[in-house]
Structures are given as C-alpha cells and as structure tokens.
C-alpha cells in the first residue's frame, strides 16, 4: 500500500512531462529579447561573452540580489547550527581523525592549481566561458579539499567576512558609479570599453567579475566552515 501512492503520483506527473516533451519543438530562430541581447552585448558593452554581459550588466541587479541570498544563507546556517548541544562535544574528537596520506599529498599538489584555475575562470569571464559565480565555486572547492585533508585547519572567519563585505560594498559602489558617470545603475561603461576581445576590455565587467568571484568564494567557504564545526 505505501508503495502504490508514490507510484500513482509518479505516473501522473510522468504523463504531464510526456505531454510537455511531445509538444516541444526546437526553436529555429531567437526570440526578440534574446536577439537584442545577442546584438547589444557585443556592440554596446564590448563583451564577447553574451551571458556574462547579461549577468553583470543588463540583469546585474538580480546578481546583487542573489549574492544577498548567499549572504543570508551563510548567516542562516550559522544561526541554525549555533548553540551546539553536549552530544556534539562528545562526537567531535573522532571526526577530527586526519585524512589519509593520499588526500594530504594530493592537496599539496592540487591546491595551487585549483586556485590558479579559479583566477583564470574569473578573469576570463567577459572573453570566454566563465565568470564570477563559477570561479567562486572553484575557490570553494579548493577550500573544501583543504578542509578534507586537514579537518582541524584554522580558517580565519573574520578575514573571510571582512573580504566578503568589502567586495559587496565595492560591487555596489561600481553600480552607483554607473548611475553617476554612465547610463544607469551597474552600467559597465564607467571604464573605457577598450579593444573588443582584449583582456582589459568591456568596461567594468572584469572588475565586477573579480568582486563577484571573491564574494561568492568567501561566502561558500564560510558556509563550509560552519558545517565543519
């Protein structure tokens, strides 16, 4: 009996999904909004990567909101996990067992490479595939590897929160600079657009990308740190 109700629900939802899949047909041309984004991002923002142009200029206000959500999650996880009970204290010694030698040696080799890769992803967000969110996630994966290799590793939480707040304030400051010196909030044309496709180009987009990467990396590291303790 308990297995039958889920099966019925799955079949019914599956029927809805099947009707979606059957009636779906591939687009043969872009919709007007997408077409104007693909046209305007290279021409007016000078960024070869259209998606980064949308994320960091046209829809950058959403990006701010999303970073705020991440910040609230870091704070919320800290709130939920704070006030540890006595059971936690007794369970902590065995959870601090050191990682195996393979993990520790691999961490020493991989950690710098992961950090460089993260910096590459963040800095090339406006030219090729990449951007602040992706690079920030790679930074957090490096921190996770570090914590796996050495569970009692001290992360400087104060430094992380100060860096994160500073990045957030600078992000908003660049946005307000766009309001004053260019067309609107978070307009990237406060800095010269430069040569199309060059490393220093696309106005404020690389700056915003770096700030976003630092902020996301710090926030995810804080969340990981909260789960460890």
């Amino acid at each position: 009996m308990p297995r039958i109700l889920p099966a019925i629900a799955i079949v019914l939802v599956g029927l809805i999904f099947a009707s979606i899949a059957i009636s779906y047909s591939e687009q043969t041309s872009l919709r007007p909004l997408a077409e104007s984004y693909v046209r305007l991002v290279p021409q007016e923002l000078g960024a070869p990567n259209v998606i980064t142009g949308i994320l960091l200029t046209f829809r950058a206000f959403d990006t701010i909101g999303e970073v705020a959500v991440l910040f609230m999650v870091a704070a919320g996880v800290g709130l939920v996990l704070s006030g540890k009970t006595s059971a936690e204290a007794s369970g902590s010694p065995e959870s601090k067992t050191p990682a195996s030698e393979i993990v520790r040696t691999a961490t020493q080799i991989l950690l710098p490479l992961i950090a460089i890769f993260a910096a590459y992803i963040i800095m090339n967000g406006h030219i090729s595939a990449g951007g602040g969110f992706q690079g920030g996630a790679v930074i957090a994966s490096a921190v996770l590897l570090l914590l796996l290799a050495n569970p009692s590793q001290d992360l400087n939480a104060t430094f992380l929160s100060i860096t994160e707040s500073l990045a957030g304030v600078l992000f908003v400051a660049v946005g307000i600079a766009g309001l004053v010196a260019a067309g609107g909030f978070l307009d990237n044309r406060v800095l010269p657009l430069g040569e199309f496709g060059a490393f220093f180009s696309a106005g404020a987009i690389p700056v915003l990308s770096v700030l976003l990467g630092v902020k996301v990396g710090c926030e995810l590291s804080v969340i990981l740190d909260r789960f460890r303790s």
């Binding site: 799955i10 979606i20 899949a21 591939e26 070869p48 999650v73 595939a129 996630a137």
Partner: protein
C-alpha cells in the same frame, strides 16, 4: 532533435528525484532527491534555450558579431540557470543544516521519527 533528447533527460531526472522524495525515509536521501529535482529543472531550462544549429553565444573565431543573432543559442536560459544553480546550492546548505539539527534532536535521520508536526 538534440534539445529534445536533453529535455527528456531533464524531465527523467526530475521524475527520479520526485520518486526519491516520495519513497525514501532517510532525510539525507530526501535532500539528495530534492537536489536531483533541481538539477533536472536546470537541464530542462537549458534545453529550452537551444536554437537549431546554434552555437554558444560567445563571440570568437567561430562566431562573428554580424552573424551572432542568426547562429547563437538563446543566452537568457543559460544566464538564469547560472543563478538557479547558486540558489539551489544555498537551499541544499540550509536543508543540510536543518538535517543536522533534527539529528541532534532525535539521534536518527529517519523521517518516521518526526511525526509530531504531521497532521
């Protein structure tokens, strides 16, 4: 054709996640199933943005500015999914934090132990 295949994959992953949510009793497995539903949704949204014969909306040697509107795929679903992945991760983090607190309260992760808020 290719986007139909990806779309069906996304829908299938969503169904697997729903099945897991409905049948498993362990809270961690339920959380994994919820992230599967989210992942399926991301695959679905990306599939909807595909344009026949299109390529990634990044201007380089293979895609000039002039023919980008004719040959690029829809960039909006991709931009939405980048944000949705981050929010999905945030939701999973909060769920795991609650799971830790629930384990502290009852010393078990079985959903059957938490019946007092069931109506």
């Amino acid at each position: 054709m290719i986007s139909t295949m990806v779309l069906v994959t996304g829908l299938a992953v969503m169904l697997i996640g729903l099945w897991g949510v409905l049948t498993h009793r362990n809270i961690l497995r339920i959380i994994i199933s919820l992230s599967l539903i989210g992942t399926g949704t991301h695959i679905l949204i990306v599939a909807i943005g595909y344009v026949r014969g299109g390529t990634a909306p990044i201007i380089d040697g293979a895609l000039t500015v002039a023919d980008a509107p004719a040959r690029a795929v829809d960039p909006i679903p991709s931009a939405l999914v980048v944000t949705a992945i981050v929010i999905g991760l945030a939701v999973t983090a909060v769920l795991l934090a609650y799971a830790i607190r629930l384990y502290d309260a009852k010393k078990t992760l079985s959903i059957d132990a938490f019946t007092e808020s069931k109506w």
